[in-house]
């Protein structure tokens, strides 16, 4: 392993993994193992989706990578370093601060890391433009729909240009039309402002539409059961969802997921 020099160096010298999990296990206290022997690597530009039944530890993987909790076994490196700097998590619920306006919510990570006011203002404007919420800057979170809140949350995450974006079922609570729309927008945003993503979802179709790799987890304890490559090139048009290749991959992945549940 020669990737120990941080992300920039790594990109220049070797397109090696941006995030690597080696033999990672997790248990909370004396409880049963939530994750066992997770070995996995994502490369710059990857969009990896994790699917699996409830309780298979999908979200825990993201929380481990984000550094919110420590692994009980194994090793996690991000950009070759053990610290999770440059990683941002988009939470299940949008997790906006209700007392801050939309612009102030997007601004928060920039403010916390000490950017100057003028830099912050410019970046917030850019981000709100990117997620299509320029007109909502002065609103408070309670004035937004679920989909809009999620857009704000994504804008907030992207404001610091993270090299790795973790998305924990971000669209799970939305209706299907809004969810599809946000999926398309997320890919469009990624065309403009590239990021590497680990994405947790319950929806096989969503996973296929968004990602180039799908990791299927089996439960009790969570293990990687199978990985499926998604061969469709980016950018992906919405019509991809109706294409025969898409549908046959959907059938394959759904079957794989089912066999994980009842082997």
């Amino acid at each position: 392993m020669r990737v120990k020099d941080g992300f920039n160096n790594l990109l220049m010298t070797d397109p090696g993994p941006l995030v690597r999990l080696t033999g990672v296990g997790k248990r909370f206290g004396d409880g049963p193992a939530v994750l066992e022997n997770i070995g996995f690597a994502a490369h710059p530009g990857d969009f990896v989706s994790f699917i699996g039944p409830s309780g298979c530890g999908k979200s825990t993987i993201l929380r481990l990578v984000a550094g919110l909790t420590a692994p009980s076994a194994g090793e996690i490196t991000v950009g070759g370093a053990a610290s999770p700097a440059g990683v941002f998590l988009v939470f299940q619920d949008a997790n906006l601060l209700p007392w801050r306006r939309v612009s102030a919510n997007v601004e928060l990570p920039l403010m916390l890391r000490g950017d100057s006011v003028s830099v912050r203002r410019e970046r917030v404007r850019e981000m709100l433009e990117l997620v299509g919420l320029r007109d909502a800057a002065r609103k408070f979170p309670w004035q937004l729909s679920g989909g809009m809140k999620m857009r704000v949350s994504i804008a907030r995450a992207l404001s610091v240009s993270p090299r790795l974006l973790l998305l924990d079922e971000p669209f799970g609570a939305l209706d299907e039309m809004t969810r599809n729309r946000l999926n398309e927008d997320l890919l469009a945003i990624r065309q403009k402002d590239p990021f590497t993503a680990l994405f947790v979802t319950h929806s096989v179709a969503e996973a296929i539409f968004l990602s180039n790799r799908i990791v299927i987890l089996s439960p009790n304890p969570g293990r990687i059961a199978r990985e499926i490559a998604v061969p469709f090139p980016y950018p992906r048009p919405p019509e991809l969802r109706e294409a025969p290749e898409f549908l046959s991959l959907l059938a394959e992945a759904s079957h794989a997921l089912r066999s994980v549940l009842a082997p």
């Binding site: 984000a66 550094g67 919110l68 700097a85 990683v87 941002f88 998590l89 939470f91 619920d93 997790n95 601060l97 209700p98 007392w99 928060l108 990570p109 403010m111 916390l112 890391r113 408070f140 979170p141 309670w142 004035q143 937004l144 610091v160």
Partner: protein, 262 residues
């Protein structure tokens, strides 16, 4: 019910109560030194207006100082307790104990230490206002959403940034609830204070002091009028605190927004 018509019902209730008052007094021929009529009370209040105005200022000053001290010290104390579990464990039982000790027992002790007058009155008010502020604010500091804490952790926020930009705003609704309760108690505290530890100048003291004075002089309508004056002071406090509440929370807090419009 339409907005703006909110004053009709209370006014009707008031009129009915006043009528009932007169009826009871008239029917049983209750003498004024037992139950003065509302008119007699207002008249006595008007005659004693200079005295009562001074007394409201004296009591109001004690109430305000005690209230502000309780809010300030209560806020800081909660902040400290919220961030040190050990400190909270060590201090909280004794704060509770102080709250359990009746103020009428503490008042003579304060007089012993501070003498009759303003300092003792402020101390009594403080004792009565302190607990609701501490209890609510501590709760507020501890009840910030876990997800928000994780957001700050991911952003690499320092402890101070977390306190300033997360804990304090998240605790605001709780803190202001404590302040509101303290606001209703402060005039009562100060009146109790000058009832037990008040002083007078040329026969004029705080509201609590005047109660004793009027009672001993058998100026019964004026005694009732001090009750009215105490109400006015109470409403001033509650009004001020509600205004603060509104100013700080109206834009974002659930208690001021109707979700249906979103």
């Amino acid at each position: 019910m339409k907005r703006g018509s909110g004053w009709i019902l209370p006014t009707v209730t008031g009129a009915v109560l006043v009528a009932l008052w007169y009826a009871i007094k008239g029917f049983w021929h209750i003498p004024t030194f037992v139950l003065p009529s509302p008119g007699e009370i207002l008249e006595a209040g008007w005659q004693e207006r200079r005295t009562l105005l001074s007394s409201i200022l004296i009591t109001g000053r004690g109430a305000l100082l005690g209230f502000l001290a309780a809010v300030g010290i209560g806020f800081l104390m909660s902040l400290v307790m919220a961030f040190s579990f050990r400190l909270k464990q060590s201090l909280y039982p004794y704060i509770l104990m102080l709250q359990m000790t009746p103020v009428i027992i503490l008042a003579p002790i304060f007089v012993l230490w501070l003498g009759q007058g303003l300092p003792a009155i402020v101390a009594v008010t403080f004792m009565i206002c302190f607990f609701p502020v501490v209890a609510n604010t501590t709760m507020g500091f501890l009840s910030a959403d876990r997800g928000w804490g994780e957001l700050f952790a991911i952003c690499g926020a320092t402890r101070w940034q977390e306190i300033r930009h997360l804990r304090i705003p998240a605790a605001m609704p709780y803190f202001l609830t404590g302040v509101k309760i303290a606001g209703t108690l402060a005039p009562i505290g100060a009146i109790t204070g000058d009832f037990l530890a008040g002083t007078q100048q040329n026969g004029v003291g705080g509201i609590g002091f005047m109660t004793i004075a009027y009672f001993s002089q058998l100026k019964i309508p004026a005694l009732f009028a001090t009750g009215l004056v105490a109400c006015v002071l109470g409403f001033l406090f509650v009004g001020g605190v509600s205004l603060l509440h509104w100013l700080l929370l109206r834009r974002w807090h659930d208690s001021f927004i109707s979700k249906g419009e979103g």
